[in-house]
């Protein structure tokens, strides 16, 4: 059984895993790129080794080098975190082949869930409904797509195979519209991704993105830890998550939980994993995909269930049985997570780089901050823009929202722009408070300006501050020039003057 763990990641998640290892009394090995020499995960670990230059493919994606470092340092296990190598079946296999423990599922489970077509087929066999569509069935021609469309049903979406960010995406209401829509979608996809392949997917109206966390041990025990509501997204990036979901009822929760457990069993899953679903306004749910790794938003589940998911992953990897059963899993209160990104919400969420010159973290009751940055740390363009996660717990959802408002106000990050004002506006949004939103809410209906409308504004205060700041800077510039005039201190000067005049 291993007692030293290599963490093949960086940033907040590396720090999160290090903390779990420390609490379990395990030694830790960090790996880092040249850009991360001063990062928190390097300083927190028992040992740290350089991987290579800043770009991910020369550092955090170098699986061979990471395995070599694990072997040389005597680490018995590798935790991949999320992103980078976390969902690469070949890496998990190589770790196993090197005689090391991969803290995650078996390579076969990663592979099965990583291939869209296989994943959908596996789910359908396990009796789980999937979003009707042609994804994963290869590249189809216009004729084939037109023939398949009525089977899927309208309205439907044409999506770019290589896509993302809504590029090459078209909403189609009827078969008549389809030929034109196909052409323009292909043209846009070609321009954006150099690949004009598209697939069809049924458009689920008013869909919410809800996922179920599961944990499974090596002895066949699978337990679900309830759901997370992740509908608030922008360009398919989650921004804010909460647990439980405001639309969930006991019946649906039990049903979705049961399906998630079935899905995990179908691929002989081990460790922590997540089944992502779309839930329509009639509370029908459809399987989207399974994430075979720890998720960014795992802390909200930890706060409401009391289960430390990372520690559980490590225990499972060490061959232990789950320390609890389904009946032990309860929901205590409500938790919300805001992803704090180095992005300017006033400028189309443009990434912001630079040195964090000043930072004050929110503290006090019910607050948790998972972060990998500190004042003095440089945010580089090489990695993800997420710099920290602010997670709060409340007795009820309303209490959690009030607490999140308070925490966001306390959180000061200076030096780079952050999306904190976006989250503050979200906490003030009536739609959010009422729990009435779907996956399109942020992009299509939410606006910072609208939330601000009708609120008290302080243009005079802003005018005074702007004038005072400008004045101070002019004064200081003048002062610097004048300083040489009398470079001894005023006190010394005064006493000399007094002596002279005696």
């Amino acid at each position: 059984m291993f007692n030293k763990v290599l963490i093949a990641n960086r940033g907040e998640i590396a720090v999160r895993i290090l903390r779990a290892c420390r609490e379990l009394g395990l030694k830790t090995v960090a790996v880092y790129s040249e850009a991360d020499r001063q990062a928190m995960h390097v300083r927190y670990a028992t040992e740290a080794y350089l991987l290579g230059p800043a770009p991910s493919n020369e550092s955090y994606l170098k699986g061979d080098k990471i395995i070599e470092i694990a072997l040389q340092s005597g680490a018995g296990a590798i935790h991949p975190g999320y992103g980078f190598l976390a969902e690469r079946a070949d890496f998990a296999q190589a770790v196993e082949d090197a005689g090391l423990e991969f803290i995650g599922p078996k390579p076969s489970a990663i592979a099965a869930m990583g291939d869209k077509a296989i994943a959908r087929e596996t789910m359908m066999k396990a009796g789980v409904s999937v979003v009707p569509g042609t994804e994963g069935t290869g590249n189809l021609s216009d004729e084939e797509l037109l023939k398949l469309a009525p089977e899927i049903g309208f309205p439907l979406l044409i999506k770019a195979t290589a896509g993302g960010g809504g590029k090459g995406m078209r909403e189609v209401k009827s078969l008549d519209e389809m030929p034109v829509a196909l052409q323009s979608a292909r043209r846009e996809a070609k321009a954006a991704f150099g690949d004009d392949n598209v697939y069809l997917e049924k458009l689920i109206l008013g869909a919410r993105h809800i996922e179920v966390q599961i944990v499974a041990d090596k002895h066949g025990n699978v337990v679900h830890l309830n759901e997370r509501e992740c509908s608030l997204q922008r360009r398919h990036q989650k921004l804010l998550e909460e647990s439980p979901s405001p639309i969930m009822d006991e019946e649906l929760r039990a049903k979705m939980g049961e399906v998630a457990v079935q899905a995990a069993k179908a691929v002989h899953y081990e460790s922590a994993g997540t089944i992502e679903c779309l839930v329509d306004s009639d509370k029908n749910f459809y399987f989207l995909e399974m994430n075979t790794r720890l998720q960014v938003e795992h802390p909200i589940t930890e706060l409401v269930t009391g289960v430390d998911i990372v520690k559980e992953q490590i225990r499972i990897a060490r061959g232990r049985k789950l320390s609890f059963t389904q009946a032990d899993v309860k929901i205590n209160g409500a938790a919300i997570e805001c992803r704090v990104n180095a992005e300017d919400p006033y400028n189309n969420f443009m990434p912001s780089t630079g040195k964090i010159s000043h930072m004050v973290l929110p503290t006090g009751p019910g607050i948790r901050v998972d972060t990998g940055v500190y004042a003095g740390f440089e945010i580089t363009p090489y990695y993800d823009s997420m710099i920290s996660k602010l997670i709060v717990w409340g007795e009820t959802r309303a209490q959690a929202i009030l607490r999140m408002r308070r925490a966001l106000e306390e959180y000061k990050i200076v030096g780079v722009r952050t999306n904190i004002p976006f989250h503050q506006a979200m906490m003030d949004s009536h739609r959010f408070m009422g729990g009435q939103f779907d996956t399109r809410f942020v992009e299509e209906e939410f606006s910072l300006e609208e939330i601000a409308e009708g609120k008290e504004t302080f243009p005079e205060v802003a005018a005074i501050i702007a004038a005072l700041v400008t004045h101070d800077q002019t004064e200081r510039a003048a002062h610097v020039v004048r300083r040489g005039d009398r470079d001894t201190s005023n006190w010394k000067w005064l006493s000399r003057w007094e002596r002279l005049s005696k």
Binding site: V414, V461, A462, I464, I465, A467
Partner: protein, 165 residues
């Protein structure tokens, strides 16, 4: 010293009387103003009300963040004002627009070519940073001038990439 401060289009005349007093459009207000730890964070107390603000200086203006709302401020002192009035009030509005990199990154594509006419809002360049592709758009109608970068180039922050004339 008097400053003409424009906040989101509305002008306020702010006079700094002494360390503790300013006037806004002639109305004298007692203020207590502190810069926090040499940071662009400021604390202002007016009439017992406490305001905390972040102030960012951009190329065009000051951005003042107060209570979760961002205000765009242009500040001119009297001298600047007189100079501008003397020069016939011609604000330097014309001249080519220089598209500079808002952050370090990798140029993914330049969908325009030199001499091409563009409209306000047209995408001039796609820049990748932090795993995200960002479309940089033209702030006005015009003709694309020199293009200094191409797809695949790495750029530093504020590096000139192309101009619109």
């Amino acid at each position: 010293m008097k400053y003409a401060t424009t906040i989101d289009g509305k002008e306020y005349i702010v006079e700094i009387i002494d360390e503790r007093h300013v006037s806004v459009d002639g109305k004298v207000i007692e203020v207590d103003f502190e810069s926090i730890e040499e940071q662009p964070v400021f604390s202002l107390i007016v009439d017992g009300k406490s305001y905390e603000s972040y102030v960012y200086r951009t190329e065009e203006d000051l951005e003042v963040l107060v209570k979760g709302r961002l205000y765009h401020a242009q500040v001119e002192d009297e001298r600047e004002r007189r100079l501008r009035a003397a020069s016939g009030g011609a604000v330097a509005q014309s001249g080519p627009f220089q598209l500079k990199a808002p952050m370090p990154g990798l140029v993914v594509a330049v969908p325009v070519s030199e001499g091409q006419e563009v409209k306000e809002g047209d995408v001039l360049l796609i820049l990748e940073s932090m795993k995200m592709q960002n479309e940089l758009k033209s702030p006005r109608d015009g003709v694309v001038g020199r293009i200094h970068v191409g797809a695949g180039d790495s750029v530093e922050q504020r590096q000139k990439m192309l101009s619109v004339e």
